[in-house]
């Protein structure tokens, strides 16, 4: 019997464009595996459609709040529909970058020191004094980013105190809470983790080298602007540390099926956790597909297996 799967992509987040392209690519890949695939956006007709068509499983390729904060997962759980990916409660933990960092640190891994603050806190307590406190506590340079979201949207590095206010204003354009963390100079890497019958396993690590030096939106989604090395050019012990971090984050946060951890390897070899993504991108320039290919596999095959696992679990 042909498996019928719904790929949920699009949504109303700042990363809608990335999500649509991820969804389209996955759609094509799964069709190539002989599945019956429907791609749907998350709109007012979705719940009715799910009830009417009862697909065997759903794959969530929504990015940003719409796919990663647990809401769509809760809806699928209520609808009794099996789905690929982490459960709602784990999504919520991962989606809140400060909570994820906290839990990963408590599990014994390193992550840059940070503070998460809302705009209203700056407004009510006085931005000037609070920024002085931030710099006094974390030092310089800093990385400022929205608490929620991905694709480096709203992120900016801060090298001087004078740059901090503008960076915070930029981050608050994306949401109410900004995360300010110590900037770690080093090699950016990404690790995809897949659940297997033997537990979570890391795929080959991707090393990221943007030509501009900054892995911003342009560098991520314009082919040719970044060089990727898969597997990463890391010493064996660093690779072990990196994969241990990614698997550790996956386990600590209770993630399921697939996740992608982003980290920095400092010049001294120390590995620092940045964030984890429960709905990794699948576009032509995304990191997960590079890991999958380096492992000798393809997106369609990987997700077809995850779909079977989801169906086996039931709703």
């Amino acid at each position: 019997m042909t498996r019928h799967v719904v790929v949920l992509a699009g949504g109303l987040s700042h990363e809608r464009d990335v999500s649509l392209r991820s969804g389209s690519r996955l759609h094509e890949s799964l069709l190539g595996r002989g599945l019956e695939v429907t791609q749907r956006d998350t709109d007012g007709e979705l719940i009715g459609w799910l009830a009417a068509h009862r697909p065997d499983a759903a794959v969530i390729v929504l990015h940003g709040s719409r796919g990663e904060n647990g809401a769509i997962q809760s809806i699928l759980e209520m609808a009794g529909l099996p789905y690929v990916g982490s459960v709602a409660s784990s999504c919520r933990l991962s989606y809140e970058k400060n909570i994820a960092k906290n839990l990963v640190r408590r599990a014994g891994f390193s992550t840059p020191d940070w503070v998460s603050l809302s705009h209203s806190t700056f407004r009510d307590l006085g931005a000037g004094a609070l920024m002085d406190l931030l710099i006094g506590h974390l030092g310089l340079p800093l990385m400022v980013k929205p608490q929620h979201g991905g694709s480096a949207l709203g992120s900016a590095s801060v090298r001087t105190a004078e740059e901090l206010p503008a960076a915070l204003v930029g981050a608050f354009a994306y949401g109410e809470i900004a995360l300010v963390e110590q900037f770690v100079d080093g090699t950016e890497i990404a690790v995809t983790v897949l659940d297997t019958p033997d537990g979570p396993a890391a795929l080959p690590v991707v090393e990221i080298e943007p030509r501009s030096g900054v892995f911003d939106y342009e560098s991520r989604y314009t082919a040719g602007l970044t060089t990727y090395y898969t597997p990463a050019r890391l010493p064996a012990e660093t690779t072990s540390a990196v994969t241990a971090l990614a698997i550790g984050a996956h386990r600590t946060l209770g993630l399921r099926d697939v996740s992608r951890t982003d980290a920095i390897v400092a010049p001294d070899g120390a590995v620092q956790f940045l964030e984890v993504n429960v709905s990794p991108g699948l576009t032509e320039t995304s990191l997960l597909p590079m890991s999958v290919e380096a492992a000798g596999r393809d997106i369609g095959g990987v997700y077809a297996e995850l779909i079977e696992r989801a169906v086996g679990r039931g709703a």
Binding site: L12, S13, H14, E15, R16, D17, V18, L20, D41, D43, H119, F122, R123, A127, G128, S151, L153, G154, A156, E163, P165, A166, A167, L168, V169, G170, F172, A173, Y174, G175, E207, E209, D216, Y217, E218, R220, Y221, T222, A223, G224, L225, T226, T227, Y228, Y229, T230, R233, E284, T285, M290
Partner: protein, 429 residues
Amino acid sequence: MTGTSLDRHIQRYAQRTSGMRASAIRALFAVANRPEVVSLAGGMPYLRSLPLESLAAEAAGLVAEDGLVALQYGSGQGIVELREQICQVMSLEGIKAHPDDVMVTVGSQMALDLTTRIFIDPGDVILAEAPSYVGALGTFHSYQAQVVHVAMDDDGLIPEALVAAIEACRAAGRPVKLLYTIPNFHNPAGVTMADARRTEIADICRRADIAILEDNPYGLLGFDDRVRRAIRADDADNVIYLGSFSKTFAPGLRVGWVLAPHAVREKLVLANEAATLNPPVFNQMLISRYLATFDWQSQIKAYRQTYAERRDTMLAALADRMPEGTTWTSPDGGFYVWVTLPEGFDASAMLPRAVTARVAYVPGNAFYADGLGTRQLRLSYCFPTPERITEGIRRLSGVIAGELEVMRTFGTSPARAIAGPSSPAPDTA
């Protein structure tokens, strides 16, 4: 170990592709197509008033009766019947033209491209209004032109500013080849070049030996029903005129035209053939039938009435909602209002907040080649209904208020780290 950049052709691209990059701002417009979002961004005409059933019958008749011609290759200059009709359309603006001097193109965007192609070498200077049409800036950039902006006011391009720009370019050893102007209901600024300035500007350019590229897609969409006299009407050999059926009929057919002096036209025909062999015959014949059979001037009048109502709605909503320090233009026709936010705002950096609030606009810096326009944004009233326009402005006012609050908290604007194209794709509503 060799890495991959995911593009094996990265070393082969022409220099002119340097700006063709993914853009976070452009990606944000992906949400604009969702019905939950009030998009005041795109310039999509409101087509519901078109007689679609009748047009369907015409299209069917075209295939049935003339299919062997309509579906075949055709003339690189365009079919003669349509070129004759285009001359009749242009006569409304005072232009006397011969069909032989008209060339049909795949939208006036292609006419713009081909004209730039035959005139501009890398580094050549084009003067353009400040701001200017984003599609033109993209074309000029693709041919590696240097764009120098010239100031406008409520009456359009300022002649004194034009003279100053020409002299400054000359003094810098950068002779100017073209002046690009959108004289009527300017995209994005909404202003219209005063009648007296048209002849003055034509004289300035003639004396300076600069050709004028007159881009006029909105000329027949004035809300006072007055058709402004085209610059080309009084200067046949120094003006290259671009026209379009996109706003007066329908953009999906992709039919525009260029009216040029014969020597220029000869080169344009060769360029047109090299680019596309010939403009789509079927589409040309459909438009020709439309012009011959339908009361197309009444259709334009219907469009004017629709857009006038929407303009009024937008202006009223802006007056009601915008904070102190915000100004905007009051267009007499066309599709757009140009808003200037209070000091310190960056419309591009504010767009993510607008997306969260489910309203879209085009940030002003998309309409400048030199990075200016950060305080401005373009609002279009052509596509959304009056109710949606009112709601959109309400949402926008909330966005501005939210941004202002954050800026006041930190005493500054956001860091500018926005690169790449800042405008939506043409089909973004």
